[in-house]
Symmetry: C2
Subunit: 143 residues, 2 copies
Amino acid sequence: MCNQCNYKELLVEADLEPTEKRLRVLEIIGNNAFPLSVSDIHDTLDRSKSINRVTVYRILDLLVEKELVDRISTGGRASYYGLAPNEFHQAHPHFYCKICGRMDCLSPETVSVQMTGFLKNFPGRIDKLELRLDGVCKNCLKQ
Amino acid sequence: MCNQCNYKELLVEADLEPTEKRLRVLEIIGNNAFPLSVSDIHDTLDRSKSINRVTVYRILDLLVEKELVDRISTGGRASYYGLAPNEFHQAHPHFYCKICGRMDCLSPETVSVQMTGFLKNFPGRIDKLELRLDGVCKNCLKQ
DNA sequence: ATTTATATTGCAATAGAGTTGCATAAATAA
DNA sequence: TTATTTATGCAACTCTATTGCAATATAAAT
């Protein structure tokens, strides 16, 4: 979620033509408080303006490749998409409810990860750290 | 990976009939140094004794449900399976190479995660923490 | 030991998520 | 305007996983 990002600018800076559909996909992701699945995004977009599933996949691939968006794995089958960390928002962990399938963002301070020693010695390249908590959310616990 | 686990005992303690196939699936996972995909497991098992894909899926579901085995998500599409933490092995993070798709276990000390404050206040239930590093492994970096 | 019940496995068909190839449309450059 | 490149759509397909039901095998009861 971001109130400060200029999405069109982000696209241009990433060397992507700021087409209507790309902009809409990025906005939907950026304006949402939690990561969305492809079908979430497709459904939202399709409500206002018809768009093909494949186009959504391709736009997401581009946005992930250009690091504007993060692909986040769930305890379930589909990937979720959220705005990538930038000057306005830090990386943060997520909580996945295995009952309702909803994924929430946790604030960056909830969990502190320390791994400098490891990073110094690791012979490969690390691009990304993903930290996810799986469980049952407050609402689903009630039932 | 475990040299101390008695797999048959683990099954019985978990209230699962220790059938030949269940035992073999659990052994294959337990004897391996890194998490395996369903097709890794199926191929290995099929070499010695024919087994149906679906049976492997079902056995894995059971083992995960009974918490003998952990289902670990990759940056890719398939789930991987590794021995669940128990008295002989602690929970640990994983490294996933996005080029060759190989998943490695990292030793538990490489990364320290601190989140007691968060856990105290969280209104839902947390069952599991998954920490994964994505990147490119040493071998794939060379090419 | 034979029958009955229950639990496990196999097989075929299906679902869901994501990808590919090629055609069409839109945008940029010449 | 025409040519070229880029973006989108459509259909078919792949891969991973699941479901329903039939066939076996195992355990329980008589």
